[in-house]
Symmetry: C2
Subunit: 717 residues, 2 copies
Amino acid sequence: MNFLHSAEHEHDNFGVDWVLHYEFEDIDSTLAVDEFRALIQQLEDAHLHTQVRPGNDTSLLVFIRIPRDRLGVMIHESRVKDWLHGITHSLPIADREPIDVTAETPSEELRSIYHAVTWQKQLGGAGITPGVGKWKHVTAAFPLHDPLANAELLRRWSRTTTLSSEDLDAIRALFGEKVAFYFAFIHCYSLFLLFPTVCGVVCWLYGGPYSILFGILNGIWCIVFVEYWKIRETELSLRWKVKGSGVLKVNRIQYTWEKEVIDSITGEIHKVFSTKKQLLRQLLLIPFVFVASLALGTLIVGTFALEVFISEVYNGPLKGYLEFLPTVLFSLSLPTISSTLTSMATRLTDYENYRTQDQYDLAQTQKTFVMNFITSFLPTLLTAFVYVPFGEKIVSILCPSWDVRVDATRLQQEVVYLSVTAQVLNCAEELLVPYLKRTLWQKYRAYRHRRAASARGRAHSRATDLLLLDPLEESSFLRRVRTQAASDEYNVHDDILEMCVQFGYLALFGVVWPLVPLGFLLNNWLELRGDFFKLSLECQRPPPIRAESIGPSLQGLEFLTWLGTLSTAAILHIYRSGGTGEVHLSSVVMTIFAAEQAYLAVTFGVRYALQKLGSQAEREEVARQYAVRKRYLASLLGGPKPASSPSARPRVRFHDKVDVYHLEGKDAATTVSLTAESERQSQFWTLNSVSTAEAGVKLIRALSTTDETPTKQYKSM
Amino acid sequence: MNFLHSAEHEHDNFGVDWVLHYEFEDIDSTLAVDEFRALIQQLEDAHLHTQVRPGNDTSLLVFIRIPRDRLGVMIHESRVKDWLHGITHSLPIADREPIDVTAETPSEELRSIYHAVTWQKQLGGAGITPGVGKWKHVTAAFPLHDPLANAELLRRWSRTTTLSSEDLDAIRALFGEKVAFYFAFIHCYSLFLLFPTVCGVVCWLYGGPYSILFGILNGIWCIVFVEYWKIRETELSLRWKVKGSGVLKVNRIQYTWEKEVIDSITGEIHKVFSTKKQLLRQLLLIPFVFVASLALGTLIVGTFALEVFISEVYNGPLKGYLEFLPTVLFSLSLPTISSTLTSMATRLTDYENYRTQDQYDLAQTQKTFVMNFITSFLPTLLTAFVYVPFGEKIVSILCPSWDVRVDATRLQQEVVYLSVTAQVLNCAEELLVPYLKRTLWQKYRAYRHRRAASARGRAHSRATDLLLLDPLEESSFLRRVRTQAASDEYNVHDDILEMCVQFGYLALFGVVWPLVPLGFLLNNWLELRGDFFKLSLECQRPPPIRAESIGPSLQGLEFLTWLGTLSTAAILHIYRSGGTGEVHLSSVVMTIFAAEQAYLAVTFGVRYALQKLGSQAEREEVARQYAVRKRYLASLLGGPKPASSPSARPRVRFHDKVDVYHLEGKDAATTVSLTAESERQSQFWTLNSVSTAEAGVKLIRALSTTDETPTKQYKSM
């Protein structure tokens, strides 16, 4: 037990809910004192408990704890809000009594804490927005990792091949829905990869590259996967009770509104910015895409041409060194161009003026996607559709004196590189580089710390020294917090983007080398675990943000599936006949055209079928909503609802005449004639003294003899 | 006033809710008596009042009236059901008291009456299903028209150019949502037609036919219209409170289920037929489309070839007569082929086994659409893309001895015919033919009636004669009912289909003659009023069926928009260079390919923009749902909800530790260490005797001097 105690000890978070990292290296200490006092004041005004400890170098760690009863109230209020907006169907108030509030998951708890720290004062928060405005020197704000739960998850996953729904729930519980959606996506995608992997291996064994069968199967697979994921996404958003949670998000501080509108139905005040104006501003995306394509395209085409020139044509001195020149030039200019474009994108997104942080992130991610798609796919597209089929022709037109022989296997080499080497390198980069960075950074800090200590030794009293010394029981805890404070924020968008690009490679170029999906499958097994490792050990714990989907990536996936169909058709057309041979542009276009029609038809069919089958979760959601209303109705009626019997509630009265249409001046006339009508009506309905059945029988006899008799007479004549 | 009275008199419906038309001409009178007794018995078992009168010839009219209190209960129950399924948000029970039930519209009233007559016994109806099974001789079942309201509407519309929302509401009130959706559609479509009309007239004045500008504008217009209509449809379905009403529909009698499943959440029993099996059965649509295309295509191509042969090549005797031969052959064979295909379609739809009548109608309409699209568009497509551009080539290959000169203006002639002559003929046919049919039928019936009366004179007593004589005050009413009983049922699908075909002509061939939309606009002004005339005076009043949309036509419209883009691009490419000249198939395909990409991009953009703008109705719907929940919450809390203040409900307790993950064997350890943790925690949070602010200030001073002092010393050196 003692051992257990000390083991737990190691991972104890001292009940800390949130940590702020306050850095004051580049400001004057008096200003820092003022800022810090204001910070603590604002936190305490919001009824939050605080503690302070020295951080790395010239920084402080502010520990925040929210009183448990206040947290309970906040969680409860958040649930009521969910119910008000129709995200959940059962109201969390049982019997009008204050009740025990138990957070379903740590992330539900953390979300309320996050709100308590970041929301503006009028919403009941402390209004601390790290890195923005007057809180510029609060460089990080994060909850602490739960080392035991993280370790347990990592341990489980290293022993199993596939994740269960419970595993995804566990990620959601620890890190919130936004992160969980990424893991659900990579998991679902990897499972789906099994199909093209098997097809690919079979095609590789019994056919060569450029297999038409594999191309078709791969194309259909892409469509099915994207359509399936749409349904899966809805299913998960229902399972995690986040469907429709987008509307709940609070306004960004930077959001500017045009007017405040009081909703005539709910009576609430909305801060409105014209949707039309926003749409017009969004149109600027078109010139942005144009500029980005031009800038990145020029760079890529230029590098490509230079590379071809040096490797194929140039025979002068230093060729061995010059061959690296294009790559070096590319690597040097890409970051500059990218960062220029990114800052343009940010300015655009700022200008588009989104209400919530979610919408803002979405718009920004969209622009990042565009840039990333260009840099990821353009080089290979150039090789596939310009260099190999038309390279010799282009060169012979531009520089008739050169003699270039195009290597038709170059496309295959590139694709093999992308699906094997690049994946390995990428994985290594993602895991090793941050590790090295962190280790070096810690060494450097230790060195600075020693220097500072020696300076302190000269300049300070022993009291100050003691002040900066960690208490023994806190030392391992504080070391952990300092490491986390210096860690990067986890950017889930980057990881999603990486998977989308991978999907794109498969959709666009999978047909070139059928082992591509195998490479991706193996990579993803590691990637999933590596990403969780990165998330839990190398990054700060992200605030648990609610999300309904993987964001704009879905559109990206659809776009790539479409482009992939065209690309696959074109590659098959060009490369099955040797590649460098005579290629007629018009016949390629006809093939692509046919492929596109097939794509449209298959997409329509698959979408129809999958949405008709629907998801169990959606059906359950509908049933649940129905059940809630039914229970409510039963409680109103004071017992189970009786079966529909006409005599059940005889006291119901009924207005006999209903006005269809407000006719001018007709009302008076109608009223007058109503009584006359009723009289005539009652006469009509009571006319027969016998029953209707007998009256009818009489009529039948009368009518049938009259009609049949003459016929019979006629016949008998 | 007396005059008013007698005028009202003329239109009095004697409080009749529903009419059954029982015909027994082809059965024995004893059997008829038995059947009739059973019919009345079943109606009376369902607590419906009945009256009987002689109908046309050997038929009876059974008048049904539902007691007002029972009707009130049914309407109320239907509303509760709507609420249970989330179609409306406010529960129609005010204070647990039975309340006044006023039908909002006549069609709400009629819907409940319709249910009372047709629903099966276990659902609380009389189970009368006209024309099906044992009610084969009940040939019609319909509510009576409201002559005054109909006349008023027709009068209003003849004086205005456009309908208001209230006009559409009035149609909905009289005839139900399904019919109202058609009128909303033709109205919305006609208003939209103004744009291409103006464009067309301008292009016609300042350019010729085959204007590229008009083609582009027309294509974009089609996309915008279809996307706008989607939103408008949702808006109307919310306005009319029918959104989601599809689930409420009862099972068809012909529906066969595989098993009964008890829903674990709602506890209700569902009769389930496997969706997968249904999907597989729906796949038979593909061979059906194939067969239909083949049959109709062969007919059309054959007729076309024959026509070309006779008019262009044949020079033998009787040419003047023979020129009509193809049309005659076509007109004779089309009905046979169509009816064969329709019966195939019906068998397919039966086999697909839909649960509700709505779904069944939808599937059947879909198949009718396919057949209609082929017969409507294939002839003109053949002219545009085979006959004119390739006719000479084809003929010279098939029969090198013939010399055929293709007339390039033939396409234009056909389009002019379609948009002017055909529309006029169609309109006339729709209005005149039923009128003539009805008049002739009435004449014939009068003749039969006289014959029957003279026969009766010979065979019967005076008592029987009196029995068959209409009472004076009822005679005009009964004449009206008999006319309605002999009228056709109104088929709204046919009218919708007609509009879709018109839209298709515009999308596919509008570019040929820019005055096409003008012709359509004028036609539609008349068509709308003509259709209402037909509906209210020449057809039985349809049972007010709820619908959420115009049905499968939306998919048809989307398909036609897509096909129209391709067709427009191809026509412009082929005909701007003269039409019959040398046309390279590959260059046409490239033009079409480019147009298709433009179509996809524009559709994406327009859809995004319109759905982002959304509809006011949808926003109001969300607000309404929110308002209902908010009011409910306020009533629970017994007053307006207090603003979020942390001290409002201090009694909320909170479970401090939440388990993320069910770790095996971890529970015990956690429990043990919890107490130790709490102790350490409380130490941590109470360590500083001074406030956090002051503690932090001390730390800042300590840290900033240590770091800055050495630098300063260094500088001062």
